[in-house]
Amino acid sequence: MSQAIDRLAPGVDAASRPVRRLSSRVREAGLGYLLILPSLLAFVTFEFYPFVRNFYLALYRTPPFPGLPKRWAGLGQVGDILSSGDFRNSLKVTVLFAVLTVPTGVILGLALAVLAHQQLKGIGIYRTIFSSTVATSVAVASVIFVTLFNPQVGLLSYLVGQQDFLQDPTWALPAVSIAFIWQHLGITFILISAGLGAVPDELLEAAHVDGAGAWSRFRNVTLPLLSPTIFFATVVGSITAFQAFGQIDLLTNGGPGDKTNVLVYAAYTEVFQRNNIGRAAVLAIALFVITLVLTIVQLTVLERRVFYGR
């Protein structure tokens, strides 16, 4: 890039060039720092500072009210929380929720995208319908499903017989997962459809001419070419799943009996209902570690299977 800038003044003689190069390099660096400054400022204030502060907060027992003194607890508090049944439960629920929602969501989105990719008359209407849930937001989808699941009002209970799914320890988390998957179906569909659209028809034609059946075409041509998109959808999907909060707040409040108390929700109740910031800090750090591990795993293990042929 400095070559481009060098060429800004092609007629200058070689002797004075080193000086100009240095000062223009300084200017360039200055500009570079200036351009990243706004973002950096925001990051330091709202991402790194809180992140570091968590480690400090985790070592104190906070009083039930702001304004009263903190008490030093040291690593004891961290140890207590990490070994507590509550923490292990939240951990399990968080992971379970991701396992329930991410693969299902991606597979459903993929299935719908493939089905809607056919050359049928009026396929556009189906595409619009399948992408429609992108317009629902977390509160909209959650209120819709909380009504559907309501044993007194909802249709589902009438069909299945009165059971309150959101209060059932076994079914509460799957019920929340269904609401979550439905809400995100639209965007997953659009994402994968876009990826499908990029699969060149000629390749499929060629495979067809070679005698490959529909399933074989799908598996050997479409799927590999679609893998970057699917990978992207999975990564984004899992990050979203780990941060799911609104659905829990509107559907189950973490219950019944903490069976849907994901780490985010547990941290929220610790802070805003018990002012227990110390505990929340520990939960937050735990979640960070999990997200980090998961992303690394996805980047190394899954990405190897992504076909980037071009």
Binding site: F65, V146, Q162, P169, L251, G257, Q273
Partner: protein, 456 residues
């Protein structure tokens, strides 16, 4: 400032050391006369409340009345829709400075508000003005008084009542004018209801943790130790005794024998117990008298339901119902003029005329004895006898440590432990003994954690 320190010193030296469970440090002086000295009138105050629907309408009417009747104070109501949300915002406000001048918080927040050190005790103003509390229902004042200090001004008192569908009772061959009053009577009635097909189950019961509290009080048993948390700060629960076990066993067996269903305590399903009676799935339920006005207007839409109101049923014993509902706390972070203004509004809401209008419009119990002779209540009680039930059972109860009501710092933690245990019992079939033991264990852990964090 100097007066406050002076009071503190006086309280410390006079009241003696062990100030656990409530506080001898009733700090704060009632700033009477501050409004007169205020630079600009009217003095505007913000009042946070959690009233909804019919109750909100009635409160707004009373507030408009107050604002119109005098030029010194203007009240602005802000609806926080729920006591929990109100308290969350209040705590946040302690940090951000965004506080109301008067805040309505539920009965269980008493110890928390004492510990917050953000409250001007009503006692200060009662003493300064020689306000007469003799016309108030004694049990109400006693509930909110800890170690001789009345912390909030009472306002909306409610307790639990039994709601039942008279038409379903008739169909089941039961006397529609006789409400079942004990656990056994409820069970018997439910059996008849189910076998006659009058409803799918007899009782729709919220898995509300406050019900066991009420049942133990009815049986004359304290809920936590140290005189129900009133002699000293509570350190342990006391509900894991035979009476408590009876309560848990009754709930479990009713559900197991398909005589009752359980419904959620809050959130979107929080009204399911009422909806169950409305659509014929159940014939009885338990609900706070506070919602009576709203319920009656909503149930009026369902022609197959005629609502009957009966006293809160429960186990036998020398107890009574607890004082429930909420009360008004004056926030001591406001300016003296605003604090006095808050006191004036709280006083207004305590007047017999206000209490009469309030009770008639909502279902809350009037806390002034003379209010029951006033027109609005007399009329209401004649029209809908159900409104009188809560009042009668409040006065009928015995006065002892159990019925004074528990005072617990981490009420929420204790209640969560109880709620989780009951839910586990009815959905997963945990044996009642195991459930109550687990509830006690987790409740004790919550209490211990709170006490450690608040530092005595």
């Amino acid at each position: 400032m100097a007066t406050i320190t002076g009071l503190l010193l006086a309280a410390c030296s006079g009241g003696g050391g062990g100030s656990k469970g409530g506080s001898a440090r009733a700090s704060g002086k009632c700033p009477l006369g501050a409004i007169a000295k205020a630079p600009s009138k009217p003095v505007d105050i913000v009042v946070w409340h959690a009233m909804t629907q019919a109750n909100q309408t009635t409160l707004t009417k009373l507030t408009d009345q107050f604002n119109a009747a005098q030029p010194d104070v203007r009240v602005k109501l802000v609806n926080q829709t729920g006591y929990d949300d109100t308290f969350t915002k209040f705590k946040a406000g302690l940090g951000s400075g965004d506080l109301p001048d008067l805040v309505q918080l539920q009965d269980t927040s008493l110890q928390l508000m004492i510990d917050s050190r953000a409250v001007l005790p009503a006692q200060a103003c009662v003493d300064a003005e020689k306000y007469d509390l003799s016309d108030h229902i004694a049990r109400v004042v006693d509930y909110y008084t800890v170690k001789n200090v009345l912390w909030p001004m009472p306002f909306n008192v409610s307790n639990l009542v039994l709601l039942y569908n008279k038409q379903a009772f008739t169909r089941a061959g039961l006397d529609p004018e006789k409400a079942p009053g004990t656990f056994d009577e409820i069970r018997a009635a439910s059996e008849k209801i189910v076998s006659s097909g009058a409803a799918k189950v007899g009782l729709a019961l919220k898995t509300a943790p406050e019900y066991p509290e009420q049942w133990l009080a009815k049986a004359g048993q304290p809920y936590v130790n140290n005189g129900n948390g009133r002699q000293q700060r509570a350190t342990e629960v006391a509900f894991d005794n035979p009476v408590g076990l009876d309560v848990y066993t009754w709930i479990a067996s009713m559900v197991k024998d398909k005589l009752a269903i359980t419904t959620p305590t809050r959130g979107a399903g929080g009204l399911n117990h009422l909806l169950a009676v409305a659509n014929g799935n159940a014939a009885m339920t338990i609900e706070s008298s506070a919602s009576l006005a709203t319920i009656l207007s909503v149930i009026g839409n369902y022609p197959s339901v005629t609502l009957g109101v009966g006293p809160f049923p429960g186990p036998p014993g020398q107890g009574g119902v607890l004082v429930g509902g909420a009360a008004l706390y004056i926030v001591n972070k406001s300016s003296p003029a605003k604090q006095e203004a808050a006191w004036r509004f709280a006083k207004f809401l305590n007047e017999p005329a206000s209490q009469a209008a309030w009770s008639a419009g909502t279902g809350y119990v009037p806390i002034r004895k003379s209010a029951i002779d006033l027109e609005p209540i007399r009329k209401r009680w004649a029209e809908v006898p159900g409104f009188k039930v809560a009042y009668d059972q409040l006065l009928a109860g015995a006065t002892n440590a159990a019925t004074a009501g528990p005072v617990i710092g981490d009420y929420a933690g204790v209640r969560k432990a109880v709620e989780d245990a009951i839910q586990g019992m009815v959905t997963e079939g945990t044996p009642p003994k195991q459930a109550i033991d687990r509830a006690a264990q987790r409740a004790n852990a919550a209490i211990k954690d709170y006490n450690a964090r608040v530092g005595g």
